[in-house]
């Protein structure tokens, strides 16, 4: 017998899953996630109420780094490595470098956002234990699924089962890791 990964509950409306998530959060559960066929307005704020700080910070750092890199590469080329007199303008022509600096800033900031998003969401991920739940297939069609994971400090399978019943879950199921 494998260890328990978590307990899965299936709800049949978006409101029900949002209410359930809010109640679970209120009772102190932290390691749970909702799986829904389409994005539900406000659900992410219920499950993760604190603003995401890591990714914006990462992108800002990427933007600063990219701008510095972009300026440096132009400065190095035009002023240090191969100085070329263009119409008597200074070698270090910051107005002309601004466009390139901006483009490099975008490149690095967007790359940081893209790869940072993958890293923060732990993607790509080819397998997840919640796939084992029979009810999970319908989470991409017409049902709304919540899974409380065993890593939660308050995790207790039988209490959670009762709680889900009280919240009006249509179907409850335990998932092995």
């Amino acid at each position: 017998m494998k260890d328990l990964f978590g307990v899965v509950a299936v709800f049949d409306t978006a409101e029900a899953v949002k209410d359930a998530a809010a109640r679970l959060r209120q009772q102190g559960y932290r390691s749970f996630e909702a799986y829904t066929p389409y994005p539900i307005e406000g659900l992410d704020r219920v499950i993760h109420p604190r603003p995401q700080r890591l990714l914006p910070g990462l992108m800002f750092a990427g933007a600063v780094l990219g701008a510095a890199w972009g300026y440096w590469i132009q400065y190095w080329d035009e002023a240090l490595n191969y100085p070329l007199n263009v119409g008597g303008r200074p070698y270090n022509s910051w107005p002309a470098f601004t466009v390139g600096t901006f483009e490099f800033m975008l490149l690095v900031a967007i790359a940081a956002g893209f790869f940072g998003m993958l890293a923060v969401s732990r993607l790509p991920k080819l397998y997840h234990p919640v796939f084992e739940a029979r009810a999970f297939a319908r989470a991409s069609r017409d049902r709304f699924v919540i899974c409380i994971e065993a890593s939660d400090p308050r995790f207790d399978a039988s209490t959670i089962r009762r709680e889900f019943e009280r919240l009006g879950a249509e179907q409850i199921e335990e998932v092995r890791a």
Binding site: P51, P56, G87, R89, P95, A96, T98, V99
Partner: protein, 366 residues
């Protein structure tokens, strides 16, 4: 209420001080007064123009934020008659302002740039803008809802007319100071500048008054985002104009910048870039910055400082005779005092949002 009364009293006192300064300046040096007043006129005109623009845009786009912005925008629009007619005081001294009033023989466009045509165009702008202001102020709109869908075509056409007329006005009043200089992006940049001036005042009142309110904070974030976007738009246009002219380095264009770099107004370049772009950009880029009333208020004041410096930078270096700085400031205060009092009066007697169910039509905008 008490604090608001104090604010209004100080606005009135500063305005009175400005009027005394202007009268003194007009007696000592009428030409310098005209220059100072032109700057003041160009600066304050942004308030009603921005109000009309945003109300007409909202007619087409919708948006919940209008529930919070409407009273301030209405008050801004109500200053249109004063703001648009204030130019007369500057244009009385037309020959001292514009070189083309006594044209050298090589100027090919005197059929357009002559005093009669100038005043006809000015009259057209005043009439058109006041009509649009009346439509924006008294059209059937309630709170957050835009105009009835059947009338929104007027808003669309009005926006186009407003964009063109404001563009031509900026050519008449600013660009024609140097009749040989031409920049095709200038009218957009000046339009963005006017919009930001007015929005800074509107957003400042949203940030300062009428709290607390959860919804109000959400709407303040939306309005801050509008200001954020148009600030970037403004700096983009200004920088592109500079970059292209700098790269071309043509004798017809580059003197316009050299004149400004060599003048006593050179610091205004840095003031307008730092307070008009760098401060607003980095404060509003940061999500908590948009939610903080203090941060938003600081950004608005910063934008106003930038636009004032920018207006002086556009006008003043064109003249060899310097204007005393106290007269520049007096002109800003004189018109500003009257504008702020009118704005505050409009804000106090602004239409209350209509009770729910009052509109006879609905519009499902986001």
């Amino acid at each position: 209420m008490r604090r608001e009364t104090q604010w209004l009293a100080s606005a009135a006192a500063l305005g009175a001080l400005g009027i005394i300064g202007c009268v003194a300046g007009a007696i000592i040096d009428p030409a310098a007064f005209c220059r100072a007043w032109l700057c003041s006129y160009l600066f304050w005109l942004g308030l009603p123009l921005a109000g009309v623009t945003l109300v007409l845009v909202h007619d087409l786009s919708g948006g919940d934020w209008m529930a919070t912005a409407r009273p301030s925008l209405d008050a801004a629009i109500a200053t249109m008659p004063l703001a648009s007619l204030a130019g007369i005081l500057a244009f009385i001294g037309l020959p001292s302002l514009y070189g083309w009033t006594h044209p050298p023989s090589d100027l090919g466009n005197v059929f357009y740039l002559n005093p009669a045509a100038f005043f006809i165009r000015y009259a057209i702008y005043v009439v058109l803008w006041n009509l649009l202001a009346a439509y924006a102020l008294w059209g059937r709109r309630a709170g957050r809802l835009p105009i009835a869908p059947g009338l929104s075509w007027i808003s669309g056409l009005g926006l186009i007319a407003l964009a063109f007329s404001a563009g031509f006005a900026s050519i008449d009043w600013i660009l024609s100071l140097e009749p040989k200089f031409w920049s095709s992006v200038f009218t957009y940049a000046q339009g963005a500048s006017w919009f930001n001036t007015g929005m800074a005042v509107v957003l400042l009142t949203v940030a300062l008054f009428g709290w607390p309110g959860d919804e109000r904070r959400r709407h303040m974030v939306d309005l801050s985002q509008i200001v954020f976007a148009t600030t970037i738009f403004w700096v983009y246009l200004e920088f592109m104009q500079f970059l292209i002219i700098w790269e071309e380095n043509l004798r017809t264009e580059i003197p316009w910048y050299l004149k400004r770099l060599d003048s006593a107004w050179r610091p205004a370049i840095y003031v307008s870039a730092v307070f008009g772009f760098i401060v607003p950009f980095f404060v509003l880029l940061w999500a908590p910055g948009k939610r903080s009333r203090a941060a938003v208020a600081i950004v608005c004041v910063s934008i106003l400082i930038s636009r004032l410096a920018h207006t002086w930078l556009l006008v003043m270096p064109e003249f060899t005779a310097p204007t005393p700085f106290w007269l520049d400031v007096a002109a800003i205060l004189a018109l500003g005092g009257a504008m702020v009092l009118l704005f505050a009066f409009g804000l106090r007697y602004a239409r209350q949002p209509a009770p729910a169910g009052a509109p006879i039509w609905t519009a499902d905008h986001g």
